[in-house]
Symmetry: D2
Subunit: 165 residues, 4 copies
């Protein structure tokens, strides 16, 4: 089995309802991943960074993700990321030629609202990364898996699809 | 991406509370998998057979599983199975030398009581089977993955562990 | 037992997550009350009107509520209402001297995100109204009950409190 | 507002799934009521006694309930009780002429499996007891309220009904 590091950057995965303001805020402490860990009976290694909606991610944030990937002694990295700019981060990491297996995942519906999609995406990425053969940047979303260029968000349908060429 | 058939045989995964009797009965219509399908935004191909607690599985039931595996045109098969005799079914399928990738999964807590473990186990099996290289019989449980001989139930702890030799 | 009409006007009670936009929209079909009805094993008589966040309620909306109260043949009316202007609607109905028992309720957290507070507020209003003796306008929120002037929202704490004079 | 004591005696309300044995055990620490307290934003005064399925309740257990009712300085008592012998306990307390308002409630489905019915029953009892006029023994279940003789379990339907004479 592979040692896996989860880099949790925020996004819809971590949104929680704020009853005082009525807004959905991003929890920066990784409570959603903690809940999965507890119920799944599987310890997860997580670092929580950035804590942003992916529409607000900057170049500095992407550099920080890259830095954390390179700092880690692990060869297998899952990145929990907002869905709107997941492709941009994936493309940037690919450009930087990370010499590891990197799988990005996220969710359309916050874990705190309906845990199923978020849990399934994270767990499927966790299973997928075990046996991925080549270094590179991948996406695991909505039961679709592949090189990041092939798994794209369909904004009308609200899900990620496999793009066949 | 691989076409995956899910053979749903019952077990704790499918247990639902019966308010008239106070018992946990096995739903034989696959409602738990339907819920995952709907929330995950991923169509699943499922056949529901047997519908038993795995302690009550007979040799005929295991023959039926084998028959369904061989009947399918798919090379990638996930079996949703009770945890108590998952090892026996795995061993039997291995003995019969199925020429496919077969991953068994299940759950300690019914999907209808707490959906996280069941969802994570199923989805992780779904991700894992995408890239498994060799034909054979595997188990994906509690974030552990491998040949069935290496992933065993720890009855005291109530989870599946990786056995290192 | 008393016949109770529930007038559902929207508010946080009915908010549901929209995965396409990432916003919380108000469901105007009363799905939250339908869920309570199904799980509570109690038929509820509901009319769904207005469908607004209570900050956006107009005088016309309050007139519509008053009209529905007067139109009904029932003497016991529960109003599901947003929390921000619940006091204004209550005060207006009081001014108009409704000759019925009217109990306003709502929730700080949407039923679809965490069902407990919404369910408890609605059900407690349902129990309370059974035995209220005098006509008038009441609030049932967070386990506090009384004439509307005595049950007020504490915006810092995010709950309704009993005001003692 | 009335001070209310909740005497939690066990029953389905408190059942939780035991993943090691696969059984539904009765939690004797009142975690279900704690969850309602937290989400409802309402402090509850609870004593946890007996901790049994109501089919296993003995005369000693009923004496203990009576003792706790009489010991309390409160005039308003809610008893969380299993549904199968709720009528027997109610009848016994009535026979003993408790000089208080006593409302029994419970649930057909454990709070830990689906929280809605349990929450609604408890909260409706909490609202109901606020305004009950006469001392005596009542039942609040499934949105039905009244003297205990009039609210009876229908074992075929799995709910409590109002019996009209």
């Amino acid at each position: 089995m592979k040692k896996v590091l989860i880099i949790n950057t925020g996004g819809t995965f971590n949104k929680i309802y704020n009853p005082i303001t009525g807004n959905l805020d991003i929890d920066t402490k990784g409570k959603a991943l903690k809940s999965i860990e507890t119920s799944w009976l599987r310890e997860l290694e997580v670092i929580n960074i950035i804590g942003k909606d992916s529409l607000e991610m900057t170049q500095e944030d992407r550099d920080e993700i890259l830095k954390q990937i390179n700092l880690s002694s692990y060869q297998h990295i899952i990145i929990v990321h907002g869905t709107d700019t997941m492709d941009q981060t994936a493309s940037y990491l690919d450009l930087k030629k990370v010499n590891k297996k990197v799988v990005l995942t996220g969710t359309m519906i916050p874990f705190s609202i309906n845990s199923i999609e978020a849990t399934a995406n994270l767990a499927s990425a966790y299973g997928y990364i075990q046996e991925v053969h080549d270094n590179g940047v991948y996406i695991a979303m909505n039961g679709r898996f592949g090189r990041y260029q092939k798994i794209q968000k369909n904004k009308e349908k609200g899900l990620f699809e496999l793009i066949e060429y």
